[in-house]
Every structure is written in C-alpha cells, then in structure tokens.
C-alpha cells in the first residue's frame, strides 16, 4: 500500500498541469456518463422504491437497437438513435407490465428478485438473439473526433455528454415539478393507494415513470456506445452497478444527487488510477468500497435527503 508520504510526493513532483487537466476531463467525461444512467435509476426508485436491477440491461438493449437500426435497416444514425430510445421506452413499459405490476402488492423483496430475474432474462435473450460475440457500435464522426487544446486532447463527445446530461436533468426536474404528469408521479411516490383514491391513474403513471426511466437509460446507452464503441450482451452489468452506486452516493431517489454522485464516482475512479497507478487494476473495487463507506457513514447519501420509508 502507498503511504501518505508517497501520495504527497505524487502531488508535489509527479504530474504537470497538462496531464492533470487531461485526467480531469477524462473524469468529467466518464462521470457524466454514470450520471446520465444514474438519473433513470434513481427516478424509478424515487417513484416506486424499486431498485430496478434490469436498468443496465435495458441500457444494453438500446445499443443493440441502435446497432441494428444503422447496420441492418440502413437508417441514418440520428433516426436510428431516436427509434432506439423510443423502443427502449416501450421495452421499459413492457418490463413493468410483465415483471413488476403483478407484484405491486407483494413484499418489496419479491419485486427486487423479479428485477434480477428480468435482468437475467434480458441478458440471455440478447445472447440468443444477437450472439455472444461483441459488435462494433456505429461511429458518428462529428461526435467522436478529438480536438486539441495545447497538450490536452479532448474528444468532442466529452463536451456533448455533460451537456446532454444537464439538459435531461433539467428536463426531468421540470417534468416532475411543473407538469400534471410530474405531480401524479410525485403523488404516487408518496402513497400510491391514496393517490389512486384521489383520482390519479396509478397504472398509467407508473408506466410513464418506467418509460421515461428507460428512455434515460437509452440515452445513456447511446452515449456509452459512442464513447466505448463495443457492444455485448453483458455490457450493461458494470455500468448498471456503477450507476446504482452513483445513485446511492447522491442519495437514492434524489435526481440532482444522482448527477453529483455520477461525477464524484467518475472523477474519483480516474484520479485513483492517475495518482496511484499501481492500484489501477482495482478501480472497480474502489467504486464498491466507496459504496460501503457511504452506506456505513451516510446511508442517505451526500444530499442527505430523508425520504419517508414505506417498506
């Protein structure tokens, strides 16, 4: 293990500013991806108190939809991407209808196990339908090129992803706080039985929540595919878990918290490798250790929002 003194030396004489800035942009770029996936995760949790373990696999399905749109149906990339997002929204609704709605009044643990089942189902379905060999995600030159700032080289996508994340963050906040649908979602989140009695269409609202949550995963998936252009049936597992961690760090159920958590996780992972290169094989472990520490000392996450528990 590296002691404090060694860490200090790394800070003082190791790294020049250009390298540090390069690391920082790498971290922001990765962090905004985590944030984008985490928003959808946390939104579904916020409304239903359900940790949707299939979120990462929904994300994987999107990348295949986009892949086949471009390669098999010869659609222009933007059409294919939009179609993939819509299809993923439909998939989310289907998943809710098939795997979660029948269990809505069952204990929470049953619905969580059902979520894990849904996750396995999607993964195996992808192996059968798309094959186990990885495929190359369509590349979009205008987005994946690099630009040079002095010694720092930055992929255009590095600017695009945080912007997309911020747009969707504000869009979602607007939807939740300033529209009728959003009000219904908040009412269902508080107490769906009472909301139902007050005339909210609970089934429709929950369906909408899943559609939006899955579409957010879809946007994350497309951004992920553009940045790491390799898609495989199990590709959603790690991003799904990382987004879950980001959501917990930020206080699960809290949308702004998920974005902050995503950035902390992304930048933290990069910095661990940057300053302690000998630990670079353990960067995933870092994320999980961080999760455990947060759960031990601040289980409500850094935003510290108290959510009335109904379990």
């Amino acid at each position: 293990m590296m002691n404090l003194n060694a860490v200090f030396q790394y800070f003082t004489n190791g790294m020049d500013l250009g390298t540090f800035l390069q690391h920082l942009t790498n971290g922001i770029s990765l962090g905004s991806l985590y944030a984008l996936v985490a928003i959808g995760y946390t939104m579904v949790y916020g409304t239903l108190r359900l940790i949707n373990f299939a979120h990462g696999d929904v994300f994987m399905m999107t990348t295949y939809f986009a892949f086949y749109g471009v390669s098999t149906f010869m659609l222009p990339w933007y059409v294919s991407f939009i179609l993939a997002v819509i299809l993923t929204g439909a998939l989310g609704m289907l998943l809710e209808k098939g795997a979660y709605r029948p269990l809505r009044n069952a204990p929470k643990i049953s619905i969580m196990i059902s979520a894990i089942g849904a996750s396995f189902l999607l993964e195996n379905l992808a192996v059968v339908l798309f094959g186990g060999r990885p495929k190359a995600f369509p590349s979009v030159k205008v987005l994946t090129d690099s630009v040079q700032f002095g010694s720092v080289s930055i992929q255009k996508l590095t600017f695009v992803i945080p912007i997309v994340t911020i747009i969707f963050l504000f869009g979602l906040l607007y939807l939740l706080n300033h529209t009728k649908t959003g009000m219904a979602m908040r009412a269902v989140a508080k107490d769906y039985e009472t909301a139902g009695i007050m005339g909210v269409n609970v089934n429709l609202t929950i369906s909408q929540t899943f559609a939006i949550g899955s579409m957010l995963a879809a946007v994350g998936g497309i951004m992920w595919g553009l940045k790491f252009p390799q898609i495989a049936p199990l590709m959603g597992v790690m991003p799904g878990l990382k987004a879950f961690i980001a959501a917990v760090i930020g206080g699960i159920g809290n949308i702004k918290g998920a974005v902050i958590g995503g950035f902390i996780l992304g930048i933290g992972e990069i910095m661990i490798v940057a300053f302690l290169p000998s630990l670079s094989g353990y960067r995933d472990a870092f994320a999980f250790v961080f999760l455990i520490v947060i759960l031990l000392f601040k289980p409500t996450g850094i935003t510290g929002e108290k959510i009335a528990e109904k379990v």
Binding site: Q22, I51, V128, S153, S280
Partner: protein, 395 residues
C-alpha cells in the same frame, strides 16, 4: 433510517450476486444429438471447451471454426464416427473448470480440445490431469498451461518465445529504447507475455529502466483514459499492450484520441475480426505476433486446410487460431490412430510422442512439456485487414 440502510445493504448483496453471476448465465450449448453415453460403441467423443459467450467469445468462435472443419474432413477414426461435444466456458475461469468436469464426468470424452485463453485452460488443468483425459490447447501460450501436467499438450509456441519475438521487433525494427506496457491483470496470458517481453527487452537494451511505465486494467474494462494519460506523460517510443481483442482495440482507439502517436504492439489474441471492426482507423498499423498466415502455407496440410476453409466460408481468410484449432483435432486423431484405441491414457501416451506431424499451421513436434516449437508470424493491420509482415524462426 436503519430499515432503509438494511434494504440498501441487501440490495448491495444482491448486486454482488449479479456480479459474480455475470459469467454464469448463458445457456451452455451441447452439440446436437449428444447423449450421456460413453465413448464406447461406435462413436469416439472428443470434447471441446471454448469461450462461446463473454469477453473472449470471438476467439473461441474462430477456434471452433477450425475444429469443426477438421471434423468435417476427418469424421472417422478406427472405423468409428468422431463426435464433437462442444461446451461453452463463457470466458470465465470457474465456468471453464466446470465445463471440463462435465466433459470428463458426464460426457466421458476420450480427449479434449481447448481453450482459447491461457487462464481458461489453466482452470481446467487439474481436472483433466486427475481424470487422465489428454487435452490439447490450440492457442493457449502461457507456459504454465502444460507445466507439471502430463495430460495437457498444445500445438502452438509458448510466451517466452513470443515475448522475445516482440521485444526484438520493438528494438530492431522500431528502434525503441523506452517502452511502456499496458497489461490485462486478470489474464494470465497478458501478465506472462508482458513479463517475458520485459525480460527480453531489458536484455536487448542493456538498460534496467527500459520499461518506463506499466499500467493495469481488468478484462471487461472499457475506459483506459487514466492509464493512457499516465503513460503519455512518460513519452514511450513504443507501447506493448498484450490483452483481449476488444479491450485492446478500445485501448488503442482511446490512445489515439488522447494524441498518443507511439506505435502500439501486442500478441496473438488480437487476430479477430472484432479487433478491426471496433478499432477501425485507430488500429491501422497495429503490429502483433501470431502463429500462422494464409499467405505462407507451410505443409500440404496447410494447402488442404486453406482450400477447404475458403470453400466453407466463401473467400474469407482463416485466422491463425482457426488453423490451430484444426491442428489440435488432427493431432488427437493421429494419436488415436497410433494408439489403435479410444482409451484416454493410451491416447495420451501417443500424443506425447508426436513428432514431425504435418499440421495446417506447420510441423508439430511436442517436447517434454507437451509444447510445440514453431516459428512466429508477425502481422500488421493494413487497410482494415491483417497483413503478413515477417516470419521469425524458432531457433
């Protein structure tokens, strides 16, 4: 509050379950028509354990292409039909061990072929040794696969040689003085090859500090920006990055995006179509060592293999590991013929004495460890294809 925490902790535990389970979900794919019967009767069973899903799926698929082609051309031995029993080891070490167990215990195969990936082969080592079933790896290059294991053989060269070949290439052809290494820490192949490269390169340069940086990543990682940014600051002449094809291809892509101009070289695992599909322009010029090239057929068997392969896969050129998969099958068949029996111990005895056997990827003589000594081929990605560059003699 406590309740909430406990829900989250249980969620975390379940999450961990999902993680550990991630390599174990795909259904295994037994060959059609396979039953639980033993090799006796009028079929001889040869087991094949290869990664058909997961991180190494493309490598496994290429090897299976060769094995199936060989089985099609040579479907019989000793007047009995040879039946292939294919099990998927899912690119996972635990699965590889259970796949091998299934082949020896349930399927009662006479011999086994596999696996792409040294770690996966090593995971099965003790099982085949205890069960006394001879196993031939097609392209697993780590020396430990066959070491202290009389029942494990291979039809390819080993990594001390491959490491030397690439160190020589970096030193003599690229005039490199300083090299940085990026290795896949979860792969025995990558770690071993990086070590042998390091030893040879230090010897060639006479410089203990010739390796300016070593970075690690895990199988399945997709983001290498931090590791590469660190190495960029060290300004190496060449980067040696042995590892799985998808990770390597993403790594090279990201290196180019970060403005790293140094040549990036690697090992035999790169030769899969996915490497070029994913890397596109970025992998243009990437150089690696491998086992065989279709541009230099070595034996009459090479000619036969190439002709049949091109017929079967309409004009596609075979990868080196496909030729080795083919060789692993015909070497076993030859041993069965000489043993005049489907008994696995007798087959093993004959395999160990394999000498000057003409395979598709060259002459095969197995040494006392059960390793083949063969020339290495250097290939380069040129215009989106793997192009032959050079042959390096074994001795």
């Amino acid at each position: 509050m406590r309740k909430k925490a406990s829900v989250l902790v249980s969620a975390l535990l379940v999450g961990a379950l999902v993680m550990t389970g991630c390599g174990t979900k795909a259904p295994s794919t037994p060959a059609p028509g396979s039953t639980g019967s033993s090799s006796s009767g009028d079929v001889i069973k040869i087991g094949v354990f290869e990664p058909m899903t997961g991180a190494n799926a493309a490598g496994g698929a290429l090897e299976v292409e060769g094995i199936k082609l060989a089985n099609k051309l040579y479907p019989e031995v000793l007047g009995k039909k040879v039946e292939l029993v294919l099990v998927d080891n899912k690119s996972d070490k635990v699965e590889a061990a259970s796949a091998a167990s299934r082949l020896v215990e349930k399927e009662k195969v006479s011999a086994i072929i596999g696996s792409w990936g040294s770690s996966l082969s090593m995971a099965a080592g003790d099982i085949v040794k205890t069960a006394q079933v001879p196993t031939v790896a097609a392209s697993a290059t780590n020396p430990l696969v066959t070491k202290n294991n009389d029942f494990y053989f291979r039809v390819c060269f080993i990594d001390p040689f491959q490491g030397k070949v690439m160190a020589n290439y970096a030193f003599n052809k690229l005039n490199a003085k300083k090299v940085a290494i990026v290795q896949e820490v979860s792969s025995d192949y990558s770690i071993g090859l990086a070590k042998f490269f390091t030893d040879s390169f230090k010897q060639l340069t006479g410089d203990e500090n010739a390796i300016v940086g070593v970075s690690n990543y895990n199988t399945g990682d997709q983001d290498f920006s931090a590791q590469l940014t660190n190495l960029k600051a060290k300004n190496p002449d060449v980067i040696f990055a042995p590892g799985n094809f998808t990770e390597s291809s993403l790594l090279i892509k990201q290196a180019r995006q970060l403005g790293i101009k140094a040549p990036i070289i690697g090992g035999d695992t790169w030769e899969t179509p996915e490497f070029i599909d994913i890397g596109k322009d970025a992998v243009e010029g990437a150089v690696f060592s491998t086992f065989f090239t279709s541009e230099k057929p070595i034996t009459p068997e090479s000619e036969k293999f190439l002709a049949e392969y091109r017929k079967e896969y309409s004009g596609k050129e075979p990868a080196a590991v496909t030729a080795l998969g083919y060789d692993a099958y015909i070497v076993i068949l030859d041993a069965i013929k000489r043993a005049n029996s489907a008994d696995s111990v007798k087959i093993k005895e004959q395999l160990a004495t394999t000498k000057n056997f003409a395979g598709a990827a060259g002459m095969i003589t197995l040494d006392e460890n059960g390793d083949a000594v063969k020339d290495a081929v250097i290939k380069q990605v040129k215009n989106g294809k793997f192009a032959f560059m050079d042959i390096v003699k074994a001795k």
